[in-house]
């Protein structure tokens, strides 16, 4: 059993079987976390480079913990203190890492397609940790894992993705993954944050709804996206209070969904803006489990890619 690919760049190109393989493989990894020794020797001697061109704490640390629990070494290239600041090109940086014989490059970059570019030029395994507004596949996979763990079957599940759909790679990766697994996806957000191209991209597979109350009706899960301050400065949303009024997930809105509706958020949260604290800390929230699951899923991805040629 194998992933037939060198790299993980997106969920769009994964088959349902590949997604299932990754999710199945993540399960025993998660179980390791209950042991006192959480580390296994599987990737001993391998090196994982973390190449982050955007600030990120949780994703970077999650990959680092995942690599270390597999006994791989990690090298951390924070942009602030590397030659990237001196203007070295992405490909040159990648080739330098390859010359140092690293085995994996985990890349986060503000531009769409950055991971693909490295993938085309380098022989090492590339894992996309978020490229522009394109995809964030391991986040999508960990959200699928979290939903599957709670509900067994993703098929037919009604999932609402709520917020800044236009700028969210998390939304894209989730939508692709959910569609492939047979879930029913509703994208919900202000019209200004929901470009027309989405309809073209996903076709009839996703439902678009601007009214939050309608969107959450009979939802099995709501994945709340982080709203960024830049959007206000760009004039795409009038103000945070107005956004919260229409699109904030509050206990009142959550009541309209199914009784056991799950609440997800990729973090970091703006409490009181896109999500109310009562919801974030409430019994439906699986936000902290997403963090735990993220490590297991990333371990599964590294493990499966290590065996592919």
């Amino acid at each position: 059993m194998n992933l037939k690919r060198k790299d993980l760049l997106d969920i769009e190109s994964l088959s349902k079987e590949e997604i299932e393989l990754i999710l199945e493989t993540a399960r025993p990894f998660k179980k390791l976390f209950t042991q006192s020794i959480k580390r296994v020797p599987t990737l001993r001697g391998k090196t994982v480079a973390l190449l982050f061109y955007e600030p990120s704490t949780r994703t970077r640390i999650s990959f680092e913990v995942a690599a270390k629990r597999l006994s791989a070494d990690t090298v951390d290239l924070a942009v602030g203190n590397s030659s990237v600041q001196k203007g070295e090109s992405l490909i040159d940086t990648g080739r330098t890492l390859e010359a140092m014989k690293v085995d994996f490059v985990v890349i986060r970059h503000p531009e769409n397609g950055a991971a693909k570019l490295l993938s085309d030029k380098l022989k090492v395994h590339i894992v996309n940790a978020g490229d522009g507004t394109h995809e964030h596949p391991t986040q999508g996979l960990l959200d699928l894992f979290t939903l599957k763990e709670k509900r067994k079957d993703l098929k037919g599940m009604r999932v609402v993705i709520l917020g800044d759909i236009a700028h969210s790679r998390v939304a894209r990766s989730n939508a692709w993954g959910l569609i492939k697994m047979g879930a029913k996806v509703t994208l919900c957000g202000p019209p200004a944050l929901m470009p027309a191209e989405l309809g073209k991209m996903f076709g009839k597979a996703v439902h678009i709804e601007h009214d939050l109350a309608k969107a959450v009706r009979s939802a099995d899960a709501i994945n709340v996206l982080r709203i960024q301050k830049e959007r206000m400065m760009d004039g795409l949303i009038p103000s945070f209070p107005v956004y919260t009024e229409q699109y904030g997930l509050t206990p009142k809105i959550l009541k309209l969904a199914k009784k056991d509706c799950l609440v997800l958020h990729p973090g970091p949260m703006n409490r009181g803006i896109e999500i109310a604290s009562e919801v974030a800390d409430g019994p439906r929230s699986v936000i902290l489990e997403q963090v735990t699951n993220g490590i297991a899923v990333r371990m599964a991805v590294l493990y499966l890619l290590a065996g592919s040629k």
């Binding site: 194998n2 025993p28 990894f29 990737l43 493990y303």
Partner: protein
């Protein structure tokens, strides 16, 4: 595919393993689950371990704790082999600390699986003693490992494989030689 052990003979072999183990570890067996754990290696070893535990319970009134061990993450050939083995679950629902552990596998060949299993097992704690039971020993060891309790020795030609089947997975019990 040639059958070399019938279901009935298979049962006899497991009874012999359980009997030999009981004879040498009577006091531990009498303490049951407090002192004795039986751990099968995924996949067939788990079922063989379950059968041995059953025999110990029925014939010798010894109720051991039973667990399963997956050694995939402890293999020494990840990324050298073409296809990545599916990771299965390790489920040892009891502390191994201070216990006598009977490690169980179906076919003992190179010894690398057992090496990996020992590493995986010792990560869970410090057993008092680890003993190894295998149904079949085929020659070809690459590490200094041997079984403490063995069903039978078999010699097969190069290119031939010994296949042990169990009802729970394969629908029938027995041992076959396949080309």
């Amino acid at each position: 595919m040639k059958q070399v052990l019938s279901p009935k003979e298979f049962k006899t072999v497991l009874e012999k393993i359980a009997g030999d183990f009981y004879m040498e570890n009577e006091s531990v067996c009498r303490h049951g689950a407090d002192r004795l754990g039986i751990v099968g290696i995924q996949t067939r070893g788990v079922h063989v371990a379950g059968r041995i535990a059953e025999i110990l319970k029925k014939k010798h009134k010894s109720a051991a704790s039973v667990g399963s061990l997956d050694i995939t993450l402890y293999r020494d050939d990840v990324s050298e082999i073409g296809s990545q083995p599916l990771v299965k679950e390790t489920d040892i629902p009891f502390p191994v600390e201070g216990k006598t552990i009977l490690l169980v596998d179906d076919v003992l060949y190179t010894g690398r699986t057992i090496r990996a299993a020992l590493d995986a097992l010792l990560e869970l704690g410090r057993p008092r003693k680890v003993l190894l039971a295998c149904v079949v020993d085929r020659e070809g060891r690459e590490l200094p490992i041997r079984a403490d309790y063995l069903g039978l020795n078999m010699k097969v030609k190069a290119g031939e494989k010994i296949q042990l089947k169990v009802k729970e997975v394969d629908g029938k019990d027995g041992i076959w030689i396949v080309q």
